[in-house]
Amino acid sequence: MGLVMNIELKHIHKRFGAVHANNDINLTFATGRIVGILGENGAGKSTLMKILSGFQSMDSGEIWLDGKPVSYNGPQAAIAHGIGMLQQDPLDVGAFTVLENFIYGQPGNLSPKRKVAQQQLEKLSQRFGFELDPDMPVSQLSIGQRQQLEIVRLLALGVRTLILDEPTTGISTEQKTLLFDALRELAAKDSMTVLLVSHKLEDVIALCHEVAVLRAGRIVGSMDMPATTTELVTLMFGQELAAQPRQPINANSDDAVLALHKVQLRNKRMKIDNISLRVRAGEIIGLAGLDGSGQEMLLRACVGLEKCSRGQIDIAGRDMTGKSYREFLQTGVAFGAAGRLEEGLVAGLTLTEHIALVTSHQSFIDWNSARQHTEDQIKHYNVRGRPESRIETLSGGNQQRVLMALMPQEPVLMALEQPTRGLDVDSARWIWQQLIERRKGGTAIIFSSPDLDELVTYSDRIIVFCGGWVQEVADMENLTLDELGRMIGGEGVIQ
């Protein structure tokens, strides 16, 4: 399997309107290497990788493979040249079974040989220790399993270069280990080239042989590994980021803002029993766990979006069991969902209309004062946008800021799903500053995150969700990332 693959990118340019997403990129990737691609949000990483894997066309520039210029349109053609990409949200079809997904895209005659394909799938899975049931619908797999499926699928297609865009979000430590082992093996034994886009510096440090850093569309540097986090951060942001000072909670009262008594939650896929929890004013509770382990369900139950099948929920001492979301809102809770434009903001409405929607309590709206109010909020939250801008024209970070501005000033409780999803380190820190500001006023925060670092950094207490069980981290003082990762993966759960 000693096929050599040398990739050269020459003078690649890509513009989106006024945005110069890739500005004269020159890079070389040698065979058998694992290369990390770093950069802040919007730096152009995904764009470059999409160009390389055929998902996007470039404006100008050349791609050379093994000393020859190539051009292809479409990801299928890139795969034919041996380059495959694994998107952050794996590109599969939820309604298909694992086997159908594996088959779909393979060349062949009209009616695929299911037996043959199944054997191939099983052989590849076995090699890397992946457990994939061929008849399972993809919609019932975890993100990690979907990535595994995508990897074996690409390998079966004979891919020689594997690109992964932020693959470690939302997968367990165990699956991450499995993934990294597989990638190392592919690079070492099969001489494959692996390109890894990631915001997680520890992953890059653990895996990569070298890194390249983008900023505002340009390559600003590269270095061979090993390197320290500080060195990488300096390269990415041009400066070292100061550590966030941790504030102790001023939990001067013992009154629970939120209290769960033996709550049972269930949906089609799982059931979680016996959750009991007391959250005091000013406390920050982190919910850890793999995607879809029940954190989201709990968060939503805390604001009445999910019904408890058993047990009782109190908000500020009032029994709210079975009440509607709107009734919860009236008690002073706030909720922020992970999908901002799907759940939270209304594409098509302007900023002013959003503000008016949550602040008007009269039948008739005073548009002048709504506009005034919006301008104040824009200033206060540092939003890049104007009152009459439609919300969908703002960037992700700015949308997140607007979402914050729409929440009540001093809620009793904020329930936030992945509050910094998709944001770069800088924006994420700004969001947390705002949150910590609110907790000083006595707001309790309960949030979920796939980012262990974020959980450990900001939480006063952490609840771990795993396989239908919940468990609180006992010793917060001495909690390490590793330990938390293992708990998420199912170690040390009291059954």
Binding site: E342, V346, S360
Partner: protein, 361 residues
Amino acid sequence: MRTRSMVFGLTILPILASLLITAVLIMLVGADPRAVFEKVWEGAFRDLRSFSQVINFWIPLTLVSMGLIVTFTAGLWNIGVEGQMGMGAVFATWGALTLQLPPLILIPVEILLAMLGGGLWAALVGILKTRLKVHEIFGGVALNALANIASIYLISGPWQPAEGGSVRATPPFPADALLPPMSPDFGVSLLALVIVGVVIVSVIVALRGTRWGLQLKATGKNARSALLLGVPTGRSAMSAFIVCGMVAGIAGGYRVLFTYGSLRPLVSGGIGFLGLLVVLLVSIRALWVPLVTFIFAAILGGSTRLKVALQLDASLAGVLQGFLVLAVLFSNGLRERWRETNPAHLSETDIKTPESLKADR
């Protein structure tokens, strides 16, 4: 400059295109398009009587269209509007046939009954939609047919005159139960005109200036987000249905209390569907409704003459209206495409340079 002429062209184009297609079709069946358009014009504007007939289409059509503006704003396809008109007519008929009141009280009561009937029928679609998750298009289609069947049942059964049973009509309403016309020559109800005016103004004000209107808009654009922002979306949708149903009910009531003077099968006369076309044509912009409904009403009014004078099927009116709306939808699409390929016309908030994004960090 180029922009303006382009936009103008894309507005005028669909009108020309649909007229052209219709003309070709007319020639296809061996008639003269000029004579057709002439007869339609004559049929609508020949004299006061024919003009009053146009206004008599305009009144219910405008009512229904304004109601549909409300449901469309909330993102709802109220195809059931026909049935809501029908039920408005049925309830008004009940009032007209059974209540013995002085006209000054009877007529308002009949109109309230019509609103009640339309509102109820719309609420059914609403419940099916919001509680039972049956898409409003199917709920609406089924309830349209059921409203019709209910009215035929009532006409041929319980409300049948003693001397003969058929599905043709109820006995004529007593004179006191009818809306009075403005004058014998100009057969138009002043009260109905006033109601239309009030409805137009209230719908525009409600959608622009009230919290209810904003909540509808948010529900229509993204119900999930609206819910999370604290909008009672279920209630919003229900209220949109009910408001539309009540307005459509008045329109249906008008058909029996003025146009016919008795209840007929299929009393809505397809006006509800026409209203849907109108609202699609104006892209939910309420201000344009009265004008467009006037044009549609004129075509409708004129097409009776078309049939008597030229023996051409009156379905031609529907063909012209259909092509017009289709052409407008297509030219909207062309305009959007054209804007996309000429990004200079995007407002400046649409795209930002990385520099400006970085400025405040």
